[in-house]
Symmetry: C2
Subunit: 253 residues, 2 copies
Amino acid sequence: MYSIGIDIGSVASKAVVFNGKKVTAKVILPTGWSPKETGEKILEHLLKEEKVERNQVKAIIGTGYGRVALSFIDKKVTEITCHGVGAHFLDSEVRTVIDIGGQDSKVIKLDDKGNVIDFLMNDKCAAGTGRFLQVMAHALEIDISELSEVAQGAIPENINSMCTVFAESEVVSLMAEGASKESIAAGLLQSVANKTYSLASKVGVENKVFFSGGVSKNSLLKEYLGKRLGIEINSSDAAQFIGAIGAAVIGYK
Amino acid sequence: MYSIGIDIGSVASKAVVFNGKKVTAKVILPTGWSPKETGEKILEHLLKEEKVERNQVKAIIGTGYGRVALSFIDKKVTEITCHGVGAHFLDSEVRTVIDIGGQDSKVIKLDDKGNVIDFLMNDKCAAGTGRFLQVMAHALEIDISELSEVAQGAIPENINSMCTVFAESEVVSLMAEGASKESIAAGLLQSVANKTYSLASKVGVENKVFFSGGVSKNSLLKEYLGKRLGIEINSSDAAQFIGAIGAAVIGYK
Ligand code: SF4
């Protein structure tokens, strides 16, 4: 038997098939305009890819902001719970999850069983989220996926404004004054690291720390964040999927 | 004898000549890239227009965020103090100044002599400032000065996001879903009124209330804000100049 976890994020939708022991398939698609359609497409995709029949699936669990739009799921579970369970499944020593997604960021504290004991979430302000980096990459005329590479080795320019809107103007001014793209990109990653540090400090960070969400693919940001927190930060290729993994693990039980 | 007050704001620079009794000349220019050059241009402009010689001016006072760049002034005074003095000069019954400028907003409480007894300022977040309206007018493909007129009589669309960045996406979605520009514009003005209400509530609002700053020219916003606060809101053509007026009044003493 299998379970399926579907995490409909604001920007990317992630889903996995779980056989009770391990993840046997995963898929990621842009969420686009319709979480409902995306969710259906993702399910179809997964079943086909994994050659799984619908009656072999004991439960489909939905999570993420778009979970409310999914009509075919058996249960909805909050992102916070799913992230906790998913991180604990990947590494049972994780006590802090730092997740930066496309439009929000959260810090979750776990006990040794993967239960959530505290968390803090920012989904009101674009600063410190993937959206901030997207706006800034656009201002720098590079792709968001290139930020880390471009910034590598550069001395971070100081970005005074935390606000996405004001920081964008600052970036435009810095470019006009002749600052290099490299140093501005580094400064922007530093800015997100600082903002994340503020959020994490309020909850308190304990070893091991797991960095997840789409933004966790940004290796230099991970490095800055580790330095700022004075702690080693772990991540994995599955980091974008931990919400979906957590949902699937919950569904299997 | 005269005094001059110069208020270098983030977007607009305002200045007035004061003869000890009334304002005899005023000028407003975009601040542009260089507050220093703009300040010099404004001074030259004023002296010429008013046919005032430099030696007839007993003091030039600078205020606003760009005041630090002015080398020719006799003294720098904070915006908060100048706004208080300026509002009190225009109407001695004013006890609350609500100022919404290009990139900040503030609420100032005054005693019966125009002294500042409390204030709160937002200059970290673009939401609830002129910048928010500028971004939104751009998304609606209208000029910021047309917002009030376009929105007049429309039922405000509900804008869920306070954040400028997220609200911009919301506006784009609303337009795609066929919501009218009129109702979106009204919703955006309502959003700024709500944000201003939050700020004002923290300080406490007392009669008379004076609405100043560039955004105060927006008549529908003034109406919404008055309704939200449940209080009559006063303003005047000189509302954009109260910082400069306050500076000049201080300079004359
Ligand atoms: S600080 Fe900027 S990015 Fe954050 S809520 Fe305000 S407008 Fe949005």
